[in-house]
Symmetry: C2
Subunit: 239 residues, 2 copies
């Protein structure tokens, strides 16, 4: 059940069986969310953190003019709101972008982990630090990359992250995002989003149809994106 979490945390450092048991023991009940449903509401003060077992979700903020911006995409094995364990109040919402199967980890049990299992605590902390590293990469992409490069970077990042939790299929992966939703990731209008996707298709490095992305030329895609996976900390080493 928690395989994807073990794969996600375990990519950074070895996870012992005892630690896996502690994580499993922190879990409470499961739940399914339909596409478009809010998994966590902005302004709420959750007493548990949500782990995605399967599906795609996103953090987002909505502005007064109605504009929406996604600040992260979350896949299987990701805690969507582990930060709320200490931040307490959600300053943004989390929405299901596909049918999502999730399980909730109780904050009081996470707290017990911080008191009794320092190595596991560091791994959970690290998980939120990688989140932050991804945020920084998005800031760079939004500020200084061309839009084509930004999109290419997103494809690279998602491919690598999905590969860790075994949700890729060869060089393909499922990306159930409409162009309007993608526009809310890159901060573009829908029309321009369409142009940018067209441009990336035109260079021939990806095939993008039916919500499935197939990478045709990984090397060239990585070049266009200037993608360097260092920020994902995928090296297994003592933490």
């Amino acid at each position: 059940m928690l395989e994807s979490l073990y794969l996600n945390l375990g990519q950074h450092d070895a996870l012992s069986d005892a630690e896996k048991a502690l994580l499993a023991g922190a879990m409470t009940f499961e739940r399914h969310f339909a596409t478009g449903q809010d998994i966590v509401a902005s302004g709420s003060r959750p007493t548990y953190s949500t782990l995605i077992l399967d599906g795609l979700a996103a953090r987002y903020k909505v502005l007064e003019n109605g504009g929406r911006q996604f600040t992260s995409l979350q896949v299987a094995g990701d805690f969507v709101d582990l930060h709320a364990f200490l931040l307490k109040t959600m300053d943004h919402g989390i929405v299901a972008l596909s049918p999502c199967h999730v399980i909730f980890a109780d904050h009081s049990r996470l707290r017990a982990i911080t008191e009794e299992a320092s190595h596991l605590t560091r791994l959970l902390w690290l998980d939120t630090l990688v989140d932050g590293a991804i945020h920084r990469e998005w800031i760079v992409a939004m500020g200084r990359r061309s839009k084509t490069s930004h999109l290419a970077h997103l494809v690279c990042e998602l491919f690598v992250r999905l590969q860790v939790v075994q949700r890729t299929n060869g060089m393909s992966f499922h990306l159930p995002l409409s162009q309007a939703e993608l526009a809310d990731v890159l901060g573009l209008s829908v029309v321009h989003m369409n142009r940018v996707i067209g441009a990336l298709r035109k260079v021939g490095v990806v095939n993008w149809a039916n919500h499935t992305v197939t990478i045709l030329d990984w090397h060239r895609l990585q070049e266009i994106a200037e993608f360097d996976p260092t920020y994902l900390s995928m090296m297994r080493e003592p933490r």
Copy 2:
């Protein structure tokens, strides 16, 4: 010496004297950096984390075309690279934007804190989570705010953060950033940065001269920015 750190961490939850002593015990030597010097190099693997005692620094990445993007601004009381304690490898650089007085905290002693002081560990973790929350707010600003609103938001954020560590003077604060550097924060060209600053000046909510920002109409500035400080977690509560 560590007053600004105590103020920064202590805004979220009470810091005991014992915890202050643990923090002080983690510190090793101090150092001064001149404006423009790199405090931490991209790609390095530091064995200590850097706390700013005074000055302004920034995290940044440089792209192949020479473009630079700042991903955060760090003020007194901030650890600029606490994340490197667990991420290990720096995927970005940190540069001094003013003369910086810093002190280094040894990673082995931080590790000891995670093993012996769970509440303090949570506060340090929280510190990095607030970092992440600020990143998300920047993503929203870059993607969906007008440039004027983005700039106004930055001014609000810096004012509030500097107030916590007592680096404001009434409604003024020192902001030693050239327009070119500011452009690397917002992801704009220098020319357009100049236009945007002009626009914010024109509405009359700030006075901006000699690297000093004075907020003339806080209420209106906050409105332009749609600034909601929730993300900074400034409420003191058990963590």
